[in-house]
Symmetry: C2
């Protein structure tokens, strides 16, 4: 096939347009599609109105080979997706005994023996549609094959969408279109601004083989260079990727902190496992976010011993052994307290590495009148320790917490590489 | 104005379609717009191609009064937004000295005295466009007034988008369209499935005054009923809201766990502050996520003393005083260990309430061969304690962690209300 298979994703739901619910489905679906070489051309986020759903189906069919819609299959009146599908594809909605039987089992398992009339709606299936069973909810996925275009109609709940995509739709698409997984490599660069980096690797980029393509993805202080390989045989692509990453390394040297993984928590995992090192966390202003980031990775128990979140000065003293006199002299948001927290944490957990944070996440200042957005953090490796100061008054509370957490782990990577 | 002011949001960027970057801008913008009564009709997520940007601008102008686009204003070659705007609106791009001067100051402050040619592009402004200064990045926001439609062209970095929206665009729209903030109330219901709830309040819903509208938002085990009030004077709306919530309370009784706030962590905050209670956390399988959730709320230091994440059995013993014999007898994922963790945590932090979690987040099982998705959690209030078991094998690791964390806080609310 000369051009890649293309898809459009349609997210249906008033709650997505009101700013109440953050759509994470399209991100997940697009990523899974990319993994088998399917390109997402566009994502529509639209309201639960039958007319708009029909109009969007029409536009989408003109753009892509595959359409995946999520949402609007609930049992209540405000869900209009099937009604719109029925009218647009001119297919009747037929009561499906098998779907209803599954629905009944599903509800009974959850202690809901009486099946309400409302739920009967969820057993209506478009004439001629293939039913893909939803193991985790009441509305199944329906697949329509219309003039060689595939249209998947899914529910909207993320934990129902994910297994349907991963276990049913991706394998079906792979076999239907004869697709193979495509290769990507992510090279993480720190310490060079995007424009300077672009300048530095311009010549390399221009001379990339045609089967490789490059994109820039800035995340915090790190720029991720993603190289995507597709078009020829897998072994050939792997060779090409390797050669080009070697060239990049000679251009950028130690600015590259990882040449394989994407997320900073995965980079930390690879690094700590390969060096047989352990880590622990002592958090104040990040409130457990670093610990959460580390443990979001499967297998993190191999290197993460644990963490404490000492939100009050008293607990910094009691659990981490930070001397009250240090807090009194320097205030709780200080390099000295950060250092003492890291030291106490390392002792408590007996780890090779410990990190600590203390700062003011805002929007209110602390009892010592420290500036909002001020933070100190320390990274301790063995007997060596480095303490860093950041000032991020422009970030909202949650962005501040996430930014600092990423930054701390990035510093861990840099310091471990130096050590 | 008889119909609400309407907006379309356009998110521009290949990285959004490749599934690499999760778009959070549109969610933030839609929510801010809703707060002043502007309805988001549609969200387009499109690639960095000039032609597609132009096509989407055309469609959007036919749908709405206001268009807000984000992304594609970077200094590199793959950013095409301004080129597309220039062609579509037939306006030249003119080098703007003032923008360049600000850009220079911005880069110098960050220690980048040499201004690269690439960055000069970011000082190009559409002829006749109003410039809204971006305090936190290099590309300003440009505003075009075209036949009484307002088109805002923003950069894509979330921490640049947020202040532009909040501090500049929302006030501008409020004054331009004479808008007022609208009122919403969120009533949180637990213990009733969506279809049964819908059945129970059907009559009430049908008789709602025209100025009020209702939507259902299931989150975990909780269903949020959002009542939006608009159309008449604010005092009148407040009165109507109050009356309708009273009616709901008589219909649903103790199934309502909150009638004001939206997020579970905010509900916890209100409850604990009003009852002058404090809380601490002892986490294993949630890895700090509950602590992160609690501290994501400004002012949480008033009731959150701190938390520990004891990822290894040794640390459960050392820090929380869980007897190794209990772990040996019942394995680490057990009601007994959960109880001992909560008790140890309450003693360590000296709080009124403590919570604990122990389970297997997967995708790999633990050393005791406990099932993936199994979790025990305890909520201890004073001397009373309740322990709960969940089995969630269908959730992916991060969804599992987030679900359990929400659920634990929900149980805290339920138990505190009972106590």
């Amino acid at each position: 096939m000369s051009r890649p298979v293309q898809a459009v994703i349609i997210c249906i739901g008033d709650e997505l347009l009101s700013g109440n619910t953050l759509d994470t489905n399209s991100h997940y679906i697009a990523n899974e599609l990319r993994g088998i070489g399917i390109e997402t051309k566009q994502i529509y986020t639209i309201s639960d109105e039958a007319e708009i759903i029909e109009k969007t189906l029409k536009e989408s069919l003109s753009l892509a080979d595959i359409i995946i819609s999520t949402g609007g299959l609930g049992p209540t009146k405000d869900d209009k997706t099937l009604e719109a599908y029925s009218r647009f594809f001119n297919r009747k909605l037929v009561f499906n005994d098998e779907v209803f039987a599954q629905l009944k089992i599903f509800l009974e398992k959850r202690g809901r023996a009486e099946i309400l009339d409302l739920n009967r709606n969820q057993a209506m299936v478009l004439e001629g549609a293939e039913v893909l069973k939803n193991e985790h909810g009441t509305a199944p996925c329906q697949l329509i094959d219309d003039n060689d275009k595939l249209i998947f109609c899914l529910p909207g709940v993320p934990f129902e969408v994910k297994p349907l995509i991963k276990e049913k739709i991706i394998p079906l698409l792979k076999s239907r279109f004869g697709l193979h997984s495509i290769l990507t490599a992510v090279v993480s660069v720190v310490g060079i601004p995007e424009s300077a980096l672009s300048h530095k690797i311009e010549d390399w980029e221009t001379h990339l083989p045609k089967s490789l393509s490059l994109s820039y993805l800035p995340v915090g202080n790190r720029i991720k260079l993603r190289i995507t390989a597709k078009g020829s045989t897998e072994i050939e692509l792997q060779k090409q990727l390797k050669i080009e990453i070697q060239k990049l390394k000679s251009l950028l040297g130690t600015s590259i902190i990882s040449e394989a993984n994407d997320r900073i928590q995965d980079i930390v995992k690879d690094l700590l496992i390969s060096r047989k090192m352990t880590i622990s966390t002592a958090e104040s202003c990040t409130g457990g976010a670093i610990s959460k980031l580390l443990t979001s990775v499967s297998g993190s128990s191999a290197y993460f011993a644990g963490g404490v979140c000492t939100y009050s000065p008293e607990m910094k003293a009691k659990i981490l052994g930070v001397a009250p006199s240090i807090i009194e002299k320097h205030t709780v948001v200080s390099a000295e307290v950060s250092q003492a927290m890291a030291k106490g944490c390392q002792q408590l957990f007996g780890t090779d590495i410990s990190v600590s944070t203390t700062g003011v996440a805002g929007p209110n200042t602390d009892q010592y009148n420290n500036s909002i957005g001020l933070v100190y953090y320390s990274v301790r490796i063995g007997e060596k320790e480095s303490t860093h100061k950041l000032f991020l008054p422009h970030l909202e509370r949650e962005d501040f917490i996430n930014f600092v957490s990423e930054k701390v782990l990035q510093t861990v990577v840099e310091e471990v590489l130096k050590s």
